[in-house]
C-alpha cells in the first residue's frame, strides 16, 4: 500500500496538481466577480474556448507569448461586454444569455481556427511557456519545485487569489460590487451605478476567463484543440457553489478538484487499477456533483444573483 502511495505522491504529482488547478483558479475567480455582482456568467466555457484559440493564434503568428495572453484577455473582455449587453443593459435571462454566449463563442473559435489554419494533417504548434524557476525559492526542497518552478501564469494565478479577496472585502469598489450583488436597490440609493459595476465585474470576469483559456492552449498544452476546455468552465461554476462564493474557499475548491484530477491521471497511468481510462476521467465530474449535493442545501448565493436591475419600472 505505502508503495502505491509513494508511487503516486511524488513531487511530479504536486507539480501537475498546481498546473491543473491554475486555469480553474482563473476561471473560478472570473466567475466569482460576475456572480458577486449578481450575474451568472454561463458564457465561461465558450469564453475560455475562444480565448484559448485567439491567444494561441496570436502567438503562432507573432511568436510572442505575452501578446497571445493579452489577446486572450481582450477576447474574454469583449465576450464579457456581450454578456453585459444581454444581461445588464437588456436584462435578459442570464441562463439563456450565458448558453447563447457559450454557443456563439465556441462556434466562433471553431470557425476562425479552421479559417486560419485550414484542415492540415499536422496540428499547428507553438513554443509554449517555459517554467520560470524563482531564484532561491525554487531551491527549497519539495516546496521549491512544486510551487516555485512553474509557469509565470501559475504565479499570476496564485497572486490573484489574495488580490481578489483584498479587492472584494477591503476596497470601496469591492463593497459596492458585493452590495450590487446582494441588493442593487441599496447600492443604487447610495449613489452607486449598478449597471456600471456589473459591466466592470463582467469585464474582469471575461479577462480572467481569457487567462484560463490562454493557460490551457499556451502553457499546459502547446496547441489548440476543440477539446481544450472539455467542461473545465462548467466545473468552475460548480466550484463557486462549493466555495460558498468566497475567493479563498473557491480557490481551495479548485485545488481539491485538481487533486482529484491529478490523482485520476496518475491512477490511469499507473495501471494499478484495471479500469477503462474513461472511468477515471469521469471521476472528478461525479465527485463534483456529489460535492454540490452536500453543500448546496446550505449554500447562500448572492441574493440578487439572476435578478436583472431595471429602474423606472412599474
Amino acid at each position: 500500500m505505502s508503495e502505491i502511495l509513494a508511487q503516486i505522491f511524488q513531487i511530479g504529482f504536486f507539480t501537475a496538481l498546481i498546473r491543473i488547478a491554475t486555469p480553474l483558479i482563473f476561471g473560478t475567480l472570473g466567475e466569482l466577480f460576475a456572480e458577486r455582482s449578481g450575474v451568472l456568467n454561463l458564457g465561461i466555457e465558450g469564453i475560455m474556448m475562444l480565448a484559448a484559440m485567439t491567444g494561441f493564434s496570436t502567438t503562432y503568428f507573432t511568436g510572442n507569448l505575452w501578446l497571445g495572453v493579452l489577446t486572450a484577455i481582450a477576447t474574454g473582455m469583449i465576450a464579457g461586454l456581450l454578456m453585459g449587453l444581454l444581461t445588464v443593459s437588456l436584462g435578459l435571462s442570464q441562463h439563456v444569455s450565458g448558453i447563447g454566449t457559450t454557443l456563439l463563442c465556441s462556434g466562433l473559435s471553431f470557425f476562425f481556427y479552421r479559417l486560419i489554419f485550414k484542415q492540415s494533417s499536422s496540428i499547428p504548434k507553438i513554443v509554449a511557456f517555459k517554467t520560470v524557476p524563482l531564484p532561491l525559492l525554487s531551491k527549497i526542497p519539495v516546496i521549491g519545485p512544486i510551487f516555485f518552478n512553474q509557469f509565470a501564469l501559475v504565479y499570476i494565478a496564485i497572486a490573484i487569489v489574495p488580490i481578489s479577496a483584498y479587492i472584494l472585502y477591503h476596497t470601496p469598489w469591492g463593497l459596492n460590487l458585493r452590495t450590487v450583488g446582494e441588493n442593487p436597490l441599496a447600492a443604487d440609493s447610495a449613489g452607486v451605478n449598478v449597471h456600471r459595476v456589473r459591466y466592470q465585474a463582467l469585464l474582469i470576469s471575461g479577462a480572467l476567463m481569457g487567462l484560463a483559456g490562454a493557460f490551457l492552449s499556451m502553457a499546459q498544452f502547446n496547441a489548440y484543440t476543440f477539446g481544450v476546455i472539455s467542461g473545465r468552465g462548467w466545473v468552475c461554476i460548480a466550484l463557486i457553489v462549493f466555495g460558498q462564493w468566497s475567493p479563498w474557499k473557491s480557490a481551495a475548491g479548485a485545488i481539491l478538484f485538481a487533486f482529484i484530477d491529478a490523482l485520476q491521471l496518475r491512477l490511469q497511468a499507473s495501471s494499478l487499477i484495471n479500469l477503462p481510462y474513461q472511468i477515471f476521467l469521469m471521476m472528478p465530474f461525479v465527485l463534483t456533483i456529489i460535492g454540490m449535493a452536500i453543500v448546496s442545501r446550505n449554500a447562500r448565493a448572492p441574493a440578487a444573483l439572476l435578478q436583472p436591475f431595471r429602474k423606472e419600472e412599474r
Binding site: L90, H95, V96, G100, R114, V241, Q278, V286, A293, R297
Partner: protein, 353 residues
C-alpha cells in the same frame, strides 16, 4: 435629446410569434454574412449554396428531414423542461443515454424480432428519462443547481459511452470504437423507398402535436407552466412542486432519449463516438426560437437542419469553414433572446429637452 425606453405591453399580438423568430434569424444571417465575407467568399453565393443544397432535390430534402428528426426531439425536450424553468442543458447526455439503451436492446440476440423496435423505444425513452431525473431529483431534494449538473452529466455519460465503446463494445474485428450493429429486425422501417426517411421521422413529427396537447390541454401541462412561471405561488396553491419537476424532467429526458433511439435505429444502426454532433445544444436554440411553443419546433428544427446539412455543401463549394453552422446557431440564440424583449415590451421614443 432623444431617448428610448421600454414600456410593458398589455397584450402580445399574435403576429409577433412569426415576426420575432424570423427577424432574429435574419439578423443572425446578416451578422454571420460578415464572417463569410471575412472568409473571402461571396456572401450571397455562400448562402444560396447553403440553403439550396439542402432543399433543392428530393433526396436532399428527405435528408434534411432526416437531419431534423433528432433536432425536433431535443427541441421538444428543451421546450418542456424550460417551461417549468428546469434548466435542462443535458439533452445531449440524455440523447446518448437513449442511444446506448437502444443499441443494447437492438443487438440482443435472445429477444423475439417483433419486440425489438418497441423495446428500443421504451428502453431509450426510459434511459433518457432516468438521466434527466437525476438532476431534477438533486435540484428538488438538495437544491443543486440544475444547469451545472445537467452539463456535467453530459460529460459523465459521454465518458461512460466511450468506456463501453473502447471496452466491451469494441468491434473485435476492426478494432474501431463502434458498438455491435443492431439486428435487422431492430432497424426502423423505411417510409419512402430508396431514401433514409425512417420511422423516427414520423415519430418526431407526431410527437410535436402530442407535446402541444400536453402543454396546452392537460392539467399536467398547466401545472408545468405554473411551476415555471412562479413555483412559490404554485406551491401555495397546493401543487406538488417536486413531483411536477420530476415528471417534467422525465418527459423531457424521454424525448431527448428518443432522439438517440431514432439515430441508432434509423440511421447508424450502432453507437459510435460522434453519434451526436451537439444535437442537444442545438435543441436549446430551436426551443428558444420556437418561443417554447411545441408547434414552432418543427419549422425551427427544419431550419437548423438546413443550416447544418447545407453548411457542408457551402464549405465544399466556397471554402468557408463548415463551423459557420455553429456560429449561426449561437448568433440566432442571442438575437432571438433580444427579439423576445419585444414580446413583453415595446420601444418608446421620448423627446426631452
Amino acid at each position: 435629446m432623444i431617448r428610448f425606453r421600454l414600456e410593458q405591453r398589455d397584450h402580445t399580438p399574435v403576429w409577433l410569434n412569426f415576426i420575432l423568430p424570423v427577424s432574429a434569424i435574419l439578423a443572425a444571417l446578416i451578422i454571420c454574412g460578415g464572417l463569410i465575407a471575412l472568409a473571402g467568399a461571396n456572401v450571397l453565393t455562400a448562402y444560396a449554396t447553403l440553403f439550396l443544397s439542402a432543399v433543392s432535390t428530393r433526396f436532399a430534402l428527405v435528408e434534411t428531414w432526416v437531419k431534423a428528426t433528432p433536432l425536433i426531439f431535443t427541441g421538444l425536450a428543451v421546450t418542456v423542461a424550460f417551461r417549468a424553468k428546469f434548466w435542462n442543458i443535458g439533452a445531449e447526455g440524455q440523447l446518448l443515454a437513449g442511444a446506448m439503451a437502444a443499441a443494447f436492446i437492438g443487438a440482443r440476440p435472445g429477444l423475439p424480432g417483433w419486440s425489438l423496435i418497441p423495446g428500443m423505444i421504451l428502453a431509450g425513452g426510459l434511459a433518457g428519462a432516468f438521466w434527466a431525473a437525476v438532476p431534477a431529483y438533486l435540484k428538488t431534494r438538495f437544491k443543486v443547481d440544475d444547469v451545472v449538473t445537467t452539463l456535467l452529466l453530459n460529460f459523465i455519460i459521454f465518458y461512460a459511452m466511450m468506456a463501453l465503446l473502447e471496452g466491451p463494445w469494441k468491434d473485435p474485428l476492426s478494432g474501431y470504437p463502434d458498438s455491435p450493429d443492431i439486428r435487422m429486425e431492430a432497424e426502423f422501417p423505411i417510409l419512402l423507398r430508396a431514401t433514409r426517411l425512417h420511422l423516427g421521422v414520423l415519430m418526431a413529427v407526431l410527437a410535436t402535436p402530442l407535446v402541444w396537447i400536453l402543454m396546452r390541454h392537460t392539467a399536467l401541462g398547466f401545472k408545468i407552466n405554473a411551476v415555471g412561471e412562479n413555483a412559490r405561488a404554485a406551491r401555495y396553491a397546493g401543487l406538488n412542486i417536486t413531483a411536477v419537476m420530476i415528471i417534467t424532467a422525465v418527459i423531457s429526458g424521454a424525448l431527448a432519449g428518443l432522439a438517440g433511439v431514432s439515430e441508432v435505429a434509423g440511421i447508424h444502426f450502432q453507437v459510435m463516438a460522434g453519434i451526436s454532433p451537439g444535437y442537444g445544444y442545438t435543441g436549446i436554440v430551436i426551443a428558444m426560437l420556437a418561443r417554447l411553443n411545441p408547434l414552432g419546433i418543427i419549422p425551427a428544427a427544419f431550419f437548423f437542419a438546413v443550416i447544418i446539412t447545407g453548411a457542408e455543401a457551402m464549405s465544399r463549394a466556397t471554402g468557408v469553414p463548415v463551423f459557420l453552422a455553429d456560429v449561426i446557431q449561437g448568433t440566432a440564440l442571442v438575437t432571438m433572446l433580444v427579439a423576445l424583449l419585444f414580446n413583453q415590451y415595446r420601444l418608446r421614443w421620448n423627446r426631452t429637452a
